[in-house]
């Protein structure tokens, strides 16, 4: 039999189409790189220009500063002032607090819902619950923020007697609502892709449905659930609109959760519109953007890597 020979004309056409599709795929990669480069470029003066460094250097942003004679050194974020203050610690702390509250609220709910829908729910119920929870993902974040500002804050204040109406718990719960669909979807997928053979083996050994779920399936799906939590955490760190409206935006450093917080993302959103291009404040805000970008990028990368390795392992491609 004759081997199939490509005609020269079609060979060139195939080559072009293939390369065109490859370029499209790489475009996404290039865009991410370019965004990072642009954002970082605008923050370089913090490291190179002595003018900017007299106002906001890495040193000034990390350590306590004594801004006025005769007063204690402290961390403070007040860029519009006679003596501009650029400490990053209150902002980092605020971002972290909001994310922690969001995780504490959303993980039990989302993972619990995933376990129920993948293991225990009858098929009809499952087909209703899954899309409804994923509908939560469709709510615009500004609507969630508005809801937290007007309704949730009052409910929480009357229920728990908070001193501050807009605090990190308020913002954290609204953030949690935004993050639940992410964790739920990924955890539920992880649990349903555990091979049926594992469940059958457990059944053969005499386990009841409860034992199968918690001693066989859950441990097998745990890396996927962990990846889902990590991706949800990345989303909670970067979310802007909800914290901008519901957290009070006060750059306080404190250990408790019942006080207002100011997050990195809300700071950028609130202040970037007004800065004069090229000022030290402008550079610092882009630096904040770089930090946020890098952090969420690596968090998401880690999550995705774990997920793909889990898929390989469950599908038998890897030990």
């Amino acid at each position: 039999m004759q081997p199939y020979v490509f005609k020269p004309k079609s060979r060139i056409r195939d080559f072009i189409i293939e390369k065109f599709i490859a370029v499209n795929a790489f475009t996404a990669l290039i865009v991410i790189l370019l965004i990072f480069i642009f954002i970082f470029k605008e923050s370089i003066p913090i490291f190179t220009s002595p003018d900017v460094q007299s106002e906001a250097s890495l040193d000034k942003m990390i350590f306590k500063q004594q801004y006025y004679e005769g007063r204690d050194p402290k961390w403070s974020w007040q860029p519009n002032s006679d003596v501009p203050k650029y400490s990053l610690l209150p902002l980092f702390l605020g971002t972290l607090k909001a994310a922690i509250v969001a995780m504490l609220f959303s993980v039990p709910l989302a993972v619990g819902a995933a376990i129920y829908t993948s293991e225990f729910a009858p098929r009809r119920l499952r087909e209703i619950i899954k899309p409804v929870i994923e509908l939560l993902a469709g709510i615009p974040s500004v609507v969630l923020g508005f809801f937290a500002l007007i309704v949730l804050a009052s409910i929480l204040q009357t229920a728990f007697g908070f001193t501050y109406r807009l605090n990190s718990i308020n913002a954290g719960i609204a953030l949690g609502l935004a993050v639940i669909p992410i964790i739920f979807t990924i955890s539920e997928d992880a649990m349903t892709s555990v091979p049926q053979s594992l469940r059958e083996a457990a059944m053969a050994l005499g386990a009841n449905p409860w034992q199968i779920s918690f001693t066989m399936v859950l441990p097998a799906a745990l890396p996927g659930i962990a990846a889902g939590i990590v991706l949800g955490f990345g989303r909670a760190i970067g979310e802007t609109m909800i914290v901008l409206m519901a957290s009070g935006n006060a750059a306080i450093i404190s250990g408790g959760f019942t006080e207002s917080i100011r997050t990195l993302s809300a700071t950028i959103a609130a202040e970037l519109a007004e800065v004069v291009f090229g000022s030290a404040h402008y550079n610092v805000l882009f630096f904040l953007g770089t930090l946020l970008f890098v952090f969420t990028f690596f968090v998401n990368l880690g999550g995705e890597l774990v997920l793909s390795r889990l898929k390989d392992r469950l599908q038998g491609r890897q030990k």
């Binding site: 403070s76 007040q78 860029p79 519009n80 002032s81 006679d82 203050k85 209150p90 007007i150 804050a153 009052s154 204040q157 001193t163 501050y164 109406r165 807009l166 901008l244 009070g248 935006n249 006060a250 750059a251 306080i252 006080e259 207002s260 609130a270 202040e271 519109a273 007004e274 800065v275 004069v276 291009f277 000022s279």
Partner: protein
């Protein structure tokens, strides 16, 4: 063929829309008044197209300096540094007062306190006074609400009441006086500040210049008369002396017609002689 036609029409309309636009950006305190003026002016002059948006005085000034707006609405004067930045970029700010405003101090309707001195206000907002009992109220910490740092109201309050001292760290910042009023209305132990035109559902606190002066509530009479201690001019900034359409708009705003519009939305019109002086013939 149809798609190409739609595309061409779309691009043409975009072109028409940008033809004779006047953009007005800046103060959230002034934005409502700016919109009313724009509506009234466009009704009287159908060929004019005016777009008004807020974002805070700082945003407006930055836009004027960066060349992305024709008129900057501002609830404070530009700082020396901003004037310098403008000159460096070849922008020549021309300032004209268009209305008066008072910064009202809001408190919750359940709050029994009726008056404060400027000194006490400063103490409250710099964090020296932290509890209502220190000024004669119930023992409870004072919840502070304020504006974001791009707000002209923020900057004006800082300059004239706080004497350029920093706000207390636990001042919660909200975008716009309406949000401040909303927050104070919901929070029993709170205090807030903002433009007088926005106060519904909250009480005004009468302000005393010092312990001996009479306490004055913000109103049309006290602000125009100058007896309310925290009153200010609201400005429009142009790039250089305005000409053509911009000049016509400015003159209309300063004329009795424009000032009457200001009054109808609870802003304080300029005293007649000041308004007349500002009109460019």
């Amino acid at each position: 063929m149809k798609k190409a036609l739609v595309a061409i029409l779309f691009m043409a309309s975009a072109g028409i829309a940008t033809a004779a636009n006047i953009t007005v950006k800046g103060s959230d305190t002034l934005v409502r008044l700016g919109q009313r003026w724009a509506e009234a002016y466009m009704k009287a002059h159908p060929d004019a197209v005016i777009q008004v948006s807020g974002g805070g005085t700082g945003t407006g000034i930055a836009a004027l300096i960066n060349g992305t707006t024709d008129i900057c609405e501002a609830s404070r004067d530009m700082k020396a540094k901003e004037y310098a930045d403008a000159k460096a970029k070849g922008v020549n700010p021309y300032r004209v007062a268009v209305a008066l405003d008072g910064i009202a101090i809001f408190s919750n309707e359940a709050n029994p306190l009726k008056e404060l001195t400027l000194e006490q206000l400063k103490g409250i907002y710099t964090g020296l006074i932290t509890d209502w009992k220190e000024i004669g109220g119930e023992p409870h910490s004072i919840i502070l609400y304020g504006r974001e740092n791009n707000s002209g109201t923020y900057a004006y309050f800082k300059e004239h009441v706080l004497a350029e001292e920093d706000y207390a760290e636990n001042t919660q910042t909200l975008p716009g006086t309406a949000a401040v009023v909303n927050a104070v209305a919901k929070d029993k132990y709170s205090i807030g500040y903002g433009g007088i035109a926005w106060g519904t559902g909250v009480k005004y606190i009468a302000v005393k210049k010092d312990a001996q002066s009479p306490a004055v509530l913000p109103s049309m009479e006290t602000i125009t008369g100058g007896t309310y201690p925290i009153s200010r001019e609201l400005y429009w900034f142009f790039n250089g002396e305005p000409t053509g359409q911009l000049r016509a708009l400015m003159n209309w705003v300063l004329a009795p017609e424009g000032q009457k519009v200001a009054e109808s939305v609870d802003y304080i019109p300029l005293p007649k002689d000041v308004a007349e002086k500002n009109i460019l013939k």
